[in-house]
């Protein structure tokens, strides 16, 4: 078959306008599948027909469209209004969500408040523990300070008292120097010529062995007279000894705790009045 003759036979127009017989239609469709020029001829006539129809369109009454939409809505509720159906489906879950949201919001808010409150409790408890520990430290520190202050005050009192004694113009100062048993030793005797009170300052003396203590002697006319024993724990300033009305020299020996009636040799320190 000559396809160009076929195309120009009028079959294309007959087919497009729906005037072809069943046999002609089947033949045309079979030939169209294998002949691009036949399809092109058909397309060309279709476009011309469409252009002519559009150019001669008659305005359709508006009521017709309304009737069509109304009819399709009524008879094909779900499928044709493809857009409405999914919208209705998506809208439905939104409503319960909205009503739930207040309760959920309140629940969420209370949980947040509870959580916040708990965190604050933990925070404040930790703060309290820290503060309590700090307070206890401060109290202890304060007590320590107070104790130290008492000690310091005692020392200050002692030093002031010693200083007053030293400053007294009636006070004679007698240095007792170290002897061969303890050459580095040094003590000082403050002897008030008016009151005859004797004070001893330990500059340097070896720590006595347990059960023994130093004893001061006043040498009066060649005879040692007990001037008192020395408690080394209290020897931080001037230690008041016994009143000695008269003496030519002072000496210290190491005696059994409590002191002796006569000195035990050797002499640790000695000095002339």
């Amino acid at each position: 078959m000559n396809i160009q003759e076929y195309i120009s036979s009028g079959i294309v127009e007959s087919y497009v306008l729906g005037l072809a017989s069943n046999e002609e239609r089947i033949e045309f469709e079979q030939l169209s599948a294998s002949h691009a020029e036949l399809r092109a001829a058909r397309e060309a006539f279709e476009i011309n027909l469409e252009q002519q129809a559009l150019g001669n369109a008659m305005p359709a009454p508006a009521a017709v469209k309304e009737k069509i939409w109304s009819e399709l809505d009524l008879k094909t509720a779900a499928p044709p209004i493809g857009k409405n159906a999914p919208v209705a489906v998506t809208m439905q879950p939104l409503t319960p969500v909205r009503t739930l949201s207040i309760a959920k919001l309140m629940a969420a808010a209370s949980i947040i408040l509870l959580l916040g409150s708990t965190l604050l409790n933990v925070y404040y408890y930790n703060q309290y523990k820290t503060s309590l520990a700090q307070l206890q430290d401060l109290i202890a520190s304060n007590q320590e300070t107070a104790k130290n202050t008492t000690i310091m005050q005692t020392k200050i009192d002692l030093y002031e008292k010693s200083l007053d004694l030293v400053k007294d113009s009636n006070m004679a100062i007698i240095a007792l120097k170290g002897q061969p048993v303890a050459p580095q030793s040094l003590t000082t005797v403050y002897w008030n010529k008016q009151t005859k009170d004797v004070y001893l300052l330990v500059n340097n003396l070896p720590v006595p062995v347990t059960g023994k203590q130093y004893q001061l002697w006043a040498i009066v006319d060649g005879v040692p007279v007990d001037a008192g024993t020395l408690n080394m724990n209290e020897a931080n300033g001037l230690v008041k000894m016994k009143n000695i009305p008269k003496a030519q020299a002072f000496a210290i020996t190491l005696e059994l705790a409590g002191g002796s009636k006569t000195p035990t040799m050797p002499i640790y320190v000695v000095g002339k009045a």
């Binding site: 120009s8 036979s9 009028g10 079959i11 294309v12 127009e13 007959s14 497009v16 306008l17 729906g18 005037l19 017989s21 469709e29 169209s32 599948a33 058909r42 397309e43 006539f45 279709e46 476009i47 011309n48 027909l49 469409e50 252009q51 002519q52 129809a53 559009l54 001669n56 369109a57 008659m58 305005p59 359709a60 009454p61 009521a63 017709v64 469209k65 009737k67 069509i68 009819e71 399709l72 094909t76 499928p79 044709p80 209004i81 493809g82 857009k83 409405n84």
Partner: protein
Amino acid sequence: MSLKARDQQSFSYLYDNYAGALYSIVLQVVPDKEVANDVLQEVFVNIWRKIESYDPSKGRLFTWMLNVARNLAIDMVRSKGYQNSQKNQSLPEGEYLDKGGASTQLSVDNIGLKKVVGKLKTEHRVLIDLAYFKGYTHEEIAAIENLPLGTVKTRIRSALIQLRDYLK
């Protein structure tokens, strides 16, 4: 094809762009506007419901819609209800058909395709009118016009070739 997905928006677009052209072809078959309105409504309801049967490999969408419109309009004219209603009117549509050659009177001859058909020689125009606007088969036309079937076929083909040239 979005219309096949029954997309209402596409359908609305289709209506807005093609309803007028289809209304024109319906009016060329069914001159009564009230009836033509009903047919146009039926045309779009059919397009919506039968869009799956449209095969793009066999032609353009407009061609398919045009044939839907033409077929429904012819069905309406041929229905008993329409025939009865037209008989009560002063100018029965089918009257000239019985007179054979007296088919020059076309009720809507100045719109759409009929305007183009009007350019044809009378012997061609009558056959196209019977075949296209009245929907008669070639055999029926041969009987109506008292012509050999071969002559009817030849004349119609010849008329269609001229129509094609007129439409270019």
